[in-house]
């Protein structure tokens, strides 16, 4: 029974198949975002429940769950973001990611395999604010930066796929990059991820024009050490 438009109901057996098959494919070709997403969904229910409960404990989180804001080119209009200085969250996000790397808000993969409409929204929200977390932490969208951010996300969300990604991803790095990841970025990720306030409870749409540094202070986000 479809609970939301992109829902694909699956049995437990089908979920197991997806996890194993999708996992192998994602390892083989990590750029297959849909495979990564599928495994994230089949393994992430417990973490999503915890995240949802965490959002219910915050008044902003409850508002987000009630209004279910979706980040699209309409809610995050590029022309408006372009006008913002880079010292703001919106400006850093636009100039650092959308423009430089050609990302568009809708490029996130839709949720298919979560059998609950509200938890599916939480998963979608997590995916959509991922890019904003790049801006918050200052990590670039390189392989190294993505892996460091995955570790940070695990500390924040507890989603198993983030841990799997952070653990298995380093095979794609060079020796030096791997060493730097382990010695500098993973410790930072654990520290910063646990220190920061729950970032899923932030109504990003309302704080785009805020000064990034001030926001980092308020949300207790320690920016990542700069990559060479």
């Amino acid at each position: 029974m479809k609970l939301y438009p992109t829902h694909i109901p699956t049995s437990l057996f089908e979920k197991v198949l997806l996890t194993v098959g999708g996992g192998l494919k994602a390892l083989h070709d990590p750029l297959r975002a849909d495979m990564v997403a599928a495994v994230g969904e089949t393994t992430g229910r417990a973490a999503l429940v915890r995240l949802r409960d965490q959002m219910l404990r915050s008044s902003t989180g409850r508002r987000i769950l009630r209004e279910r804001p979706i980040i699209t080119s309409e809610t995050f209009p590029p022309f408006r973001l372009e006008a913002l200085p880079e010292s703001t969250l919106g400006g850093a996000y636009y100039h650092g990611f959308m423009q430089k790397h050609g990302y568009v808000p809708e490029s996130r993969v839709p949720v298919h395999f979560i059998d609950d409409a509200e938890l599916a929204y939480v998963m979608l929200r997590y995916r959509q604010v991922h890019d904003l977390w790049h801006a918050m932490t200052g990590l670039p969208p390189t392989v190294e930066g993505e892996l460091a951010l995955k570790a940070f996300e695990y500390a924040q969300t507890g989603l198993p796929m983030t841990a799997l990604g952070a653990a298995l991803g380093p095979v794609l790095l060079s020796h030096n990059e791997r060493a730097r990841l382990v010695s500098t970025y993973l410790p930072w990720a654990v520290m910063a991820g646990t220190r920061a306030k729950p970032l899923m409870n932030v109504y990003y749409e309302e704080v785009l024009e805020e000064d990034l540094e001030a926001l980092r202070q308020e949300l207790r986000v320690t920016p990542a050490p700069a990559l060479a």
Partner: protein, 489 residues
């Protein structure tokens, strides 16, 4: 009679002491149980006229074996007052779920029929389920061939019915001392005339009792002053929040419902076709918050509490967020409705209103007296044990105590024994102590088993509960134990 006895005693004091003379004199005092009705002596004195004390009074007063025994019932309350509900739709928030065995005993006392049928409500089904897992158990009275699992009665009504029967049928057999405050601490008669009989000083008179029954509740003076035993156990750190609610009558109301939340169980017990009683075990702060909520928010909270995940309820009952619970529940209901499986979900009747002034909380404790008896003193009911209300056993255990003590006294009297003799009282203790201990322990274990949301525990208990639900034989045994072996016919 009395002058003769006095002369005997004086004579004893005067002449040389011989063993034979002493023995015959003692025998004269001990076996003689008939004395002129004087206000300073009783064979059996019952201190405390709650349900247990009043039931014992009725049982002893109607016993033919005790026809020659002097009985007294003492309480500091006004025992002439009778409880009457304000309206037909008004219910006391002090209710009890009487097992068929208790009802059978009350029938024998002639009390059951004194309660109007509109104020005693049987329920044939009981559903128990776990909020942290899909564990559930359904009970049905026909599994044990009984017309009902239990009967809901208001405690004040039961008390009134017992006092009325005492007054109407046994006034000549028992002296009722109403509005009588006993001087504390309780002491024993040390005049030498009696064998350290417990002595009740009522101010205007004193009563020496051959045996004193302590039915004076949790703060029993009989226990603390005369039996002097430890009342061991623990405080649960929880209170029982009670309320009377009006429910949606369209689904019928012959089922008892209990949902185990990690903070404690929430039970809804049917009082009539339109009203039910709630008992919610909660930490004191959460209970205080729930009790103070405006009516519409409390009603929304209760309906949510039978259905929502525990994490949601923790937010409603906590102090971190200021929420209009009624409004939040409207939103959350919409969210949950989409995913609910109507075949598998357990849902009690919808609560529509809460009776004004019916919300109250009492602390929950586990206690057991180390000894039920001491020289010429015996404890029954709450004076002997306090139990978690999650299985509705407290008052039923008390009535079980009373039934056993009454039977023990009658058997002893029929063979001419001294009712206060240690051997007589020990027979009562020997029968009741293990039964009460087992029930106290079982309820305590259930409280701990369901008092956590830790995943491994939730999984084990869910597995256990579901397997238990499938095994009719085991279910029947458990039901018989909690309902009493007697089924009503």
């Amino acid at each position: 009679m009395l002058p003769t006895l006095a002369a005997t005693v004086r004579g004893l004091a005067a002449r040389p002491w011989t063993a034979a003379a002493a023995a015959s004199a003692t025998r004269a005092v001990v076996t003689c149980s008939h004395r002129p009705f004087s206000t300073d002596y009783a064979d059996v004195a019952i201190l405390g006229s709650g349900v247990a004390g009043a039931a014992l009074a009725c049982a002893l007063a109607q016993a033919p074996e005790l026809a020659a025994h002097k009985l007294a019932l003492i309480d500091s309350a006004d025992l002439t007052r009778r409880y009457a509900p304000a309206t037909d739709d008004h219910w006391s928030n002090r209710v009890v779920s009487l097992t068929p065995r208790s009802v059978h005993f009350l029938q024998e006392l002639g009390v059951w029929d004194a309660i109007p049928s509109a104020r005693r409500h049987p329920y044939e089904h009981m559903k128990v389920w776990d909020a942290c897992s899909n564990g559930r158990a359904d009970f049905s009275a026909e599994t044990v061939s009984s017309p009902a699992i239990a009967y809901m009665v208001e405690v004040p009504y039961l008390q009134s019915a017992l006092l009325e029967v005492l007054h109407a049928q046994h006034a000549d057999r028992i002296t009722v001392h109403s509005n009588a405050t006993v001087a504390t601490p309780l002491a024993r008669d040390d005049s030498g005339d009696t064998d350290a009989y417990p002595l009740l000083d009522l101010g205007s008179e004193k009563i020496a009792a051959r045996v004193l029954v302590g039915s004076d509740g949790a703060q029993s003076r009989v226990r603390s002053d005369l039996v002097r035993t430890s009342f061991f156990g623990r405080d649960y750190g929880r209170v029982g929040l009670v309320a009377t609610v009006a429910i949606d009558p369209t689904q019928g109301n012959a089922t008892a419902w209990q949902r185990f939340l990690p903070t404690g169980p929430l039970a809804m017990l049917p009082l009539s076709e339109t009203h039910s009683s709630l008992v919610w075990t909660l930490p004191p702060a959460m209970a205080a918050k729930a009790a103070a909520l405006p009516e519409d928010q409390f009603v929304a909270l209760v309906n949510a509490a039978f259905f929502y995940p525990p994490a949601e309820l923790a937010v409603f009952l906590g102090n971190e967020l200021e929420l209009d619970i009624a409004e939040e529940v409207e939103w959350r209901d919409e969210v949950y409705e989409h995913g609910v499986d109507l075949d598998r979900v357990v849902l009690p009747p919808y609560v529509e209103a809460v009776q004004d002034g019916s919300r109250a909380a009492f602390p929950l404790r586990l206690r057991h007296a180390m000894e039920y008896t001491a020289h010429r003193a015996v404890l029954v009911g709450d004076a002997a044990h306090l139990i978690h209300p999650l299985a509705g056993q407290g008052l039923n255990l008390g009535l079980g105590d009373v039934e056993c003590l009454s039977r023990t006294f009658r058997a002893a009297a029929s063979t001419g024994q001294d009712l206060g003799h240690a051997h007589v009282l020990e027979a009562y203790s020997r029968e009741r102590y293990p039964v009460n201990a087992a029930m106290l322990t079982a309820c305590d274990a259930l409280h701990h088993l369901f008092g956590t949301d830790a995943a491994p525990v939730a999984w084990i208990r869910s597995f256990g509960l579901n397997r238990f639900n499938q095994l009719d034989l085991v279910k029947r045994t458990v039901m018989r134990a909690t309902m009493g072996e007697v089924s009503m016919l």
